[in-house]
């Protein structure tokens, strides 16, 4: 398949404006400015593009919720890529920042925004620098600012750096963060389309979603929807890490089977060992086992088997992996990142981590596995935002497939897996 999102991945200097324009860049903006706002939104709707941040909400539909008569409107690009196992947005930002900017200009034009923000996580200092440089180049060429390319449309794009809070990937927490508050989620409704940044209509889209827009404008919605799965068309970035021979970022048609990604593209399991479990979409997504590997990697197929596509972060674990340790590390992440706003998540994720830690350290008590299940039940569906649910989904996924291993740990005070990884206990 011809690369759409990663065409500049192996092109040194591909991030510069000159190279981007030489490769046909910013033609889509020129095309878009000739089309009406509604026409662009209809094209994005017809393309079937669904949000690549994890929720899979239809992008064109999201744009169409923006009320026409309220001003100003805002576009926010969610580049707070923090889901463990995910590094796709970083790839686009570092290697092809103008692709993102072009998508943002078109999206802003379509919804009628005159200011747009890129919310990039603080750790991506290099990415922020790339964006600043790209924005500067675009202003100099008249692609950003007042009356771009001689049209009556004006747009400013700003970079807002986060500073170490996974929760700011939740769209309303992201808005709070731009406004200079702690990044805690807002109550929904009202949804950001009505009450967003500074209380004005706002669209929040993921980096990968916005980067799909220029090619839809140039090649048409039919071209886009002919790729990938019927209900989730288009290209998709898959991030493969863990125990594989060729970890990396892969652009493949949406719906590529997980087995093909792990064994063909990522080169199979390291050292010829056997696969034990795979997390398909960032650590929130419940893990899958060998017999589930033929699942097509798209939103609906993964939901059908009780997992999710999430961010497309594929983490592969071989048969030496201790699943209690893996579950502990995943949960420790959620308790660390819980924003503290609501009790079930703030307290629940903390206790899940404590219990998992003692099981892992050989100090588990009889009934601990049931205790974990009880805490899960008290968190799930009772939290303000999906972070708490995510912690539960991840743990339930591990317990569903590897409950025996947890019980073995509790009973025998040690691990059933050969070896395991790292010596976590030493530095805790």
């Amino acid at each position: 398949m011809e690369k759409i999102l990663l065409k500049n991945l192996n092109n040194p200097g591909g991030h510069t404006l000159d190279n981007y324009i030489a490769g046909g860049g910013y033609r889509a903006v020129k095309e878009a400015l000739k089309l009406g706002h509604d026409h662009i939104i209809q094209m994005v709707k017809d393309s079937g593009l669904r949000g690549r941040g994890g929720a899979g909400f239809p992008t064109g539909l999201k744009w169409s919720f923006i009320p026409k008569e309220v001003y100003p409107k805002y576009l926010c690009c969610n580049a707070d890529e923090g889901e463990p196992g995910t590094f796709k947005d970083r790839g686009i930002i570092e290697y092809d920042p103008h692709l993102l900017l072009e998508g943002m200009i078109i999206a802003s034009y379509a919804i009628g925004a005159i200011s747009a923000y890129i919310y990039i996580r603080g750790e991506f200092a290099f990415g922020a620098k790339r964006l600043w440089e790209a924005i500067k180049e675009a202003y100099e060429k008249g692609l950003l600012g007042k009356n771009i390319l001689g049209s009556d449309f004006s747009i400013d794009i700003y970079v807002h750096r986060g500073f170490g809070a996974y929760i700011c990937g939740e769209e309303t927490a992201l808005l709070e963060s731009i406004e200079g508050f702690r990044g805690q989620p807002r109550k929904k409704p009202p949804f950001p389309a009505v009450w967003g940044l500074y209380g004005k209509p706002t669209v929040i889209n993921n980096v990968e979603t916005l980067s799909c827009i220029p090619s839809i404008i140039l090649n048409g919605p039919k071209w886009f929807s002919s790729m990938g799965s019927e209900k989730s068309p288009g290209p998709k970035l898959y991030c493969v890490s863990g125990h594989v021979n060729r970890p990396g970022l892969y652009e493949l048609p949406m719906g590529t089977p997980l087995r093909e990604i792990v064994y063909n593209h990522a080169g199979g399991i390291k050292g010829g060992r056997n696969l034990k479990a795979v997390i398909p979409g960032g650590v929130t997504a419940p893990m899958l086992i060998e017999k589930e590997l033929d699942v097509p990697m798209d939103f609906d197929s993964l939901a059908k088997i009780g997992s999710m596509l999430g961010s497309g972060g594929v983490v592969v674990m071989d048969d030496t992996t201790c699943m209690v340790k893996a579950a502990y590390i995943i949960n420790r992440f959620f308790s660390h990142e819980s924003c503290g706003k609501c009790t079930p998540c703030r307290e629940g994720t903390h206790w899940m981590t404590e219990v998992l830690k003692r099981i892992e350290y050989g100090e588990g008590k009889p009934g601990d596995v049931e205790l974990l299940e009880g805490v899960c039940a008290n968190i799930f569906g009772r939290t303000f935002c999906p972070l708490g649910d995510g912690a539960v989904m991840a743990l339930r996924g591990a317990l569903k497939n590897f409950r025996d291993e947890f019980a073995y740990h509790v009973e025998n005070k040690r691990c059933a897996a050969r070896g395991g990884f790292g010596a976590i206990g030493v530095w805790e």
Partner: protein, 155 residues
Amino acid sequence: MLSEKVRGEIRGVLRNYKNLRSACMAALQIIQREAGHITEADMSDVASLLGVNPVQVEEVGAFYTMYNVRKPVGRHHIQVCTNLSCSLLGAGHIVNFIERLLKIKTGGTTQDKRFTLSTVECLGSCATAPMMQVDEDYYENLTEERINEILDGLK
């Protein structure tokens, strides 16, 4: 007192936003980049610049984990990712190795104030695990040898 340079830079970001308060995160980032950490006086100064209460700056500083509020760090801040993908490929050993090498525990600073060592959650560099961030730079595919080289180069 904030230097004129820092004040100037903070004023520069104000125009990115609709109100002054929105520049709070960026203001603290500018201060930390210059000084390594943020003091109580810095937060008061930011508050008066932005026309908010000092506690409203403090709550931002306390919430976001990358701010070193009232917490001086060494000249170089080593942050090793210990999330799942890195741990699968030996992040635990990497942390142990650096602790032994620098003779400090995680969270500690060397006596000569050259290095502070922390462990952090996923930094989005999972395909090149294990990895760490030192100051603003990423160092990937770490081995004991590589770490020796990297740390030797940071004075």
